[in-house]
Each structure stands twice: as structure tokens, then as C-alpha cells.
């Protein structure tokens, strides 16, 4: 079974973005692999190490800089990469269609994806890909076991955790507790340079990626005003009572 992992290049989670000239200012800021995708790569590599997967293929959709993101995944232990090169804004539905086209040729037994990207916070791509493929899905996985033609997933829900059995192939999206991604060693970084990265485009895959939504405005929310410091627990509750907060 092959495992496919989509990886997105996003603004690093430590960076607070700002608005400049009515757009999110992305000039000269640190970019990284979406943290949830990193967890997905780690899980795929672990499946391979356990003998449950034969090959781990990573796919990135976006500008040529995404090759750096693919190299990071290859250094973690993925076998080969595919870049779907495209510029400009791309919506989750378009990404899902591109990944569907890649699935049609790669025929993975499992797609492991991040549960959401930390830039657009949509959380749509995984379930959309599952639907377009006519596959089962489990979002927010905290554990995953592959057993032949099925997968047993424990997923985090608003009420606790839930176990599902999925028929494979399927799409599973990762939550924070699934694993802790490995540290990348220098030799593995070097080795990743030799691993193959194929390139394709949306046009080659026959997918129209024109955005459907129009972004009319982006703005920073009004900041909360800082309050005051109190000296003691007693003072804290006195003030809460006086303000009617308790």
C-alpha cells in the first residue's frame, strides 16, 4: 500500500501576520510546513517503518518554493515528491480536485492529511478529497491502525474521542496528539536532496483552479485593551464582584 501526504507551505506558526496595503503582508516572513501536515508525514513514515506501507509520496500545491516543503518531508523519510506548480490564491476545493487527479494516477491506499492549514483555517481539503474519491474519511485522528483493507481510527471530537472503522482507501486527517514529528538529522537532509520530485501543473491535470470566492477585504481585528494588575486574590474577587462579573 502506498500512502500519499499532501503538504502545504504556510506562514510559520510563530509569526503574527500583518495587513499592508489591504492585503496580508507575506513579504520576507518565515514559511514552514503546515504543522498538521508534518504530523501526517511523520505518521506515514512510521507506517512505512512498521511495514504497513510500501511507499510514502508527498504532494504540494503552490509556487516553486513548495519544493523546499517537499524536501523537508523527504528528509523526514518520505520517498518521493510531486509538485503541482501554480501561483496565486488557491481554494481548498481546487486543491482537493488536484489531489484527486494525483490519486487517480498514484492510487494510494491511504491519504494522510493535516486537519486544517493554519493560514486559511478552512479544514476542508481532506473531507473534500474523500468525497471526490468516493472514499471514507476520519478527521482529527489521534491514533491510527492499518489492518489489511481497513483502518481503525480514534478521533478527537467535541465530546471526547470516537473510534471508527474505515474501508480503505480512505482519507485520514491528523490532530495534534497523533504523534510528535521527528527531528531531522543532517545526513537525512543530505539524503533528501537525492530523492526525486516530479513536477506537474493544474493544466496538465485538467483542473480549473480559478478562485470562486471573492475576498472583499482583510482587516486586523480591534485589539483588546490591556487591563490592570491586582495585588492579591482578595482584591481580584473584590473587583470581579464590583464589576458584576461574578
Amino acid at each position: 500500500m502506498n500512502v500519499m501526504v499532501p503538504v502545504k507551505r504556510v506562514v510559520d506558526y510563530n509569526v503574527r501576520v500583518r495587513i499592508k496595503a489591504a492585503a496580508v503582508d507575506l513579504a520576507n516572513i518565515k514559511m514552514s510546513m503546515n504543522p498538521f501536515d508534518e504530523i501526517a508525514v511523520e505518521e506515514a513514515v512510521r507506517l512505512k517503518e512498521k511495514g504497513k506501507a510500501d511507499e510514502v509520496v508527498v504532494v504540494s500545491v503552490g509556487p516553486r518554493d513548495c519544493i523546499e516543503t517537499l524536501r523537508t518531508a523527504l528528509a523526514m523519510g518520505a520517498d518521493r515528491g510531486i509538485l503541482v506548480a501554480c501561483d496565486g490564491a488557491i481554494e481548498p476545493l481546487a486543491v482537493a480536485k488536484l489531489l484527486k487527479a494525483v490519486c487517480d494516477t498514484e492510487k494510494p491506499g491511504l491519504v494522510l492529511a493535516g486537519k486544517q492549514a493554519i493560514d486559511d483555517d478552512c479544514g476542508q481539503t481532506g473531507p473534500m478529497l474523500a468525497a471526490l474519491n468516493g472514499w471514507a474519511q476520519a478527521t482529527r485522528a489521534r491514533s491510527l491502525e492499518i489492518d489489511g483493507t481497513s483502518a481503525r481510527i480514534e478521533r478527537e471530537t467535541d465530546r471526547g474521542t470516537e473510534s471508527l472503522t474505515l474501508r480503505l482507501p480512505a482519507v485520514v486527517t491528523t490532530d495534534l496528539r497523533l504523534n510528535e514529528p521527528r527531528y531531522i538529522s543532517l545526513p537525512n537532509k543530505m539524503k533528501a536532496r537525492q530523492k526525486p520530485i516530479a513536477e506537474t501543473t493544474a493544466a496538465e491535470l485538467g483542473v480549473d483552479i480559478t478562485p470562486r470566492l471573492t475576498v472583499l477585504d482583510v482587516a486586523e481585528p480591534a485589539p483588546r485593551a490591556a487591563g490592570i494588575k491586582v495585588k492579591s486574590v482578595g482584591e481580584l474577587f473584590d473587583r470581579l464582584h464590583a464589576a458584576g462579573a461574578l
Binding site: R16, I19, V24, F36, E91, L93, I118, D121, Q124, T125, G126, P127, M128, L129, A130, A131, L132, A136, Q137, T139, R140, R152, R155, E156, T157, D158, R159, G160, T161, E162, S163, L164, T165, L166, D175, L176, R177, R212, L213, T214, L216, D217, V218, A219, E220, P221, P223, R224, A226, G227, I228, K229, V230, K231, S232, V233, G234, L236, F237, L246
Partner: protein, 315 residues
Amino acid sequence: MTSLVVAEHDNRILADATARTITAARALGQPVEVLVAGHGCQAVADAAAGLDGVDTVLLCDDPLYAHPLAEPFAALILSLAERWDAVLAPATSHGKAVLPRVAALLDVPQISEITKVLAPDTFERPVYAGSVMATVKAPAGKLAITVRPTAFAAAGAAPAPAPILSLPAGPDPGLSAFAGETLSQAAGPELTSSKVVVAGGRGLGTADNFQLLAHIAGRLNAAVGASRAAVDAGFAANDCQIGQTGKVVAPELYIALGISGALQHLCGIKDAKTIVAINKDDEAPIFQVADLGLVADLFQVLPEIDAELARRGYN
């Protein structure tokens, strides 16, 4: 045509998130139908029919919907697509899993986690963990929307109940099966709708201290929340996590104990009316958003808070 609201429930109780999603749906200006799919869920349908602004409740009571599996729920909503112009679900673990399937198969974009309806086709939604608010306009055609419940008021009681229409079950995709669940042990009110939330972070240091925090929360009839760090450390269950990738809360009072205030956490509490922060690090970013801050060691201050509340009659 109508706006279809996907009800969130556990077959017994209609979640508060549904009443809030109905308010968002009303703003689209079309009649509102609420879909209650479940098993043995008549009480949920009755509750939905009693909410103001609901024109019809569609009840689909079948073992296929006993558990909230994404594939059969999406298939059911798709089978009803001729009825609706817009489908709205609360941005819960279930709604977020189901709606993208519906949008993809109808070939329409989804608008995730809206916080405002500015026009029937124009919405505000947070991006970059709420550092940026985006205004987006949808194209003509069907709409698929998830709604951030805390951003909308809950629909009140209707003067007269709406009619309930029973529907046959939709197709069974047969792709997945429910294999059990572990429900959160948290006592007290539900986190996302509680008026008071007491939340802990890594600064609590031990699971025992988190237990004491839960005890304090009990005195205030508050829900227990946690930062990601506290969940990762095993102090609290995953369903307590507040922030970008967890739950969003907007209580009257939010008390943060030993939470430093990473951007990813702050975006989950920014609509709290009053924020109290207690942390031993006076440089912690949480103090920049707190209305009342106390710099103190949690190990000393937790028993003090407990005693102070006891003295003030919070039992």
C-alpha cells in the same frame, strides 16, 4: 427555496450550537429548515421545532444516523439538495467533517466558520488564527457554510412550534462504521456555552493542580478549559482545548491559570467579556489581553482562590 441547518445533537439533547446557527441562517433571508438526523431523536426534533425562526423541522430517524458518521450525513444532505439554497452547520467536530463533503460533491466552495453575515452572499470569517478577519463574497449558486456558534446569539423560543416532517433515510455509502466512543468525564456546564470558564495551562505543572482547578471551576459552576500545552501534557482531555485548533469560547468571565497566552490560544477567547489571568511570568502575553491580571505562583494561589471562594460562599 430554503436555508437548511444541520442540527447538532446526541439523539437526546439539541446542542446550543444549533440555536446559534439558526440565527446565522435567518440572516440569509430565506425560510429555515432544520435537519434532525439521528436515531430515537424525536425529542431533539421537538426541541428544534420550538425554536424561533424555524419554519420546518425535517426529521430523519434511522439507525443509519445513530452516530454522527460523515459519509451518510453528507449523502443525506446531498439527497435533499433540491430543497435548499444554503446549508449551514455549526463549526463543530461533526459539522466540520460533513459539510466539505457536501460542498465538494455539489462543486461549490465552502465558507468555513463565519462570524458575521454581512449580506446573504457576503460573510466575515477569521483567518491566520484570528489575526486577520476576511470578508468574502460567494458566487451565485448554492452555499455551504459552517458557523462559529459563539459569534451568533441563540434563537429563542417560538410562539408556536414549527411542523415536523418525517423523511425516509438517505443512501448508505457503507464506507465507515462506528466502533465506540469515550465521552469526556468533565462535570459542569458545556464548555462553549458556559457563562464562566476556568482554564489551565502548562504553568499548572501537575495533573493534581489541574484537579484543584476543576474543583475551583465547580465552585463557580464554570466549565473547565485548557491550553494545548495542558492537553499535550495529559493534564486535561482533548475536548477541553481552547484555541485555533480546539474550541472557541465567549463566556462572561474567563479565568486563565498558568496560561502564557500564545496567539493560537488567544484567538479562542478574544470574545470573552472579562478575562482574568494569573501567571507567575509578568511578561506573559496573556496579560496584554487580560482585564484583570495577577502575577503569582500557581502553587500558592490555587489553594488561596479555593479558600477565598469558600469564604465568599461559593460551594
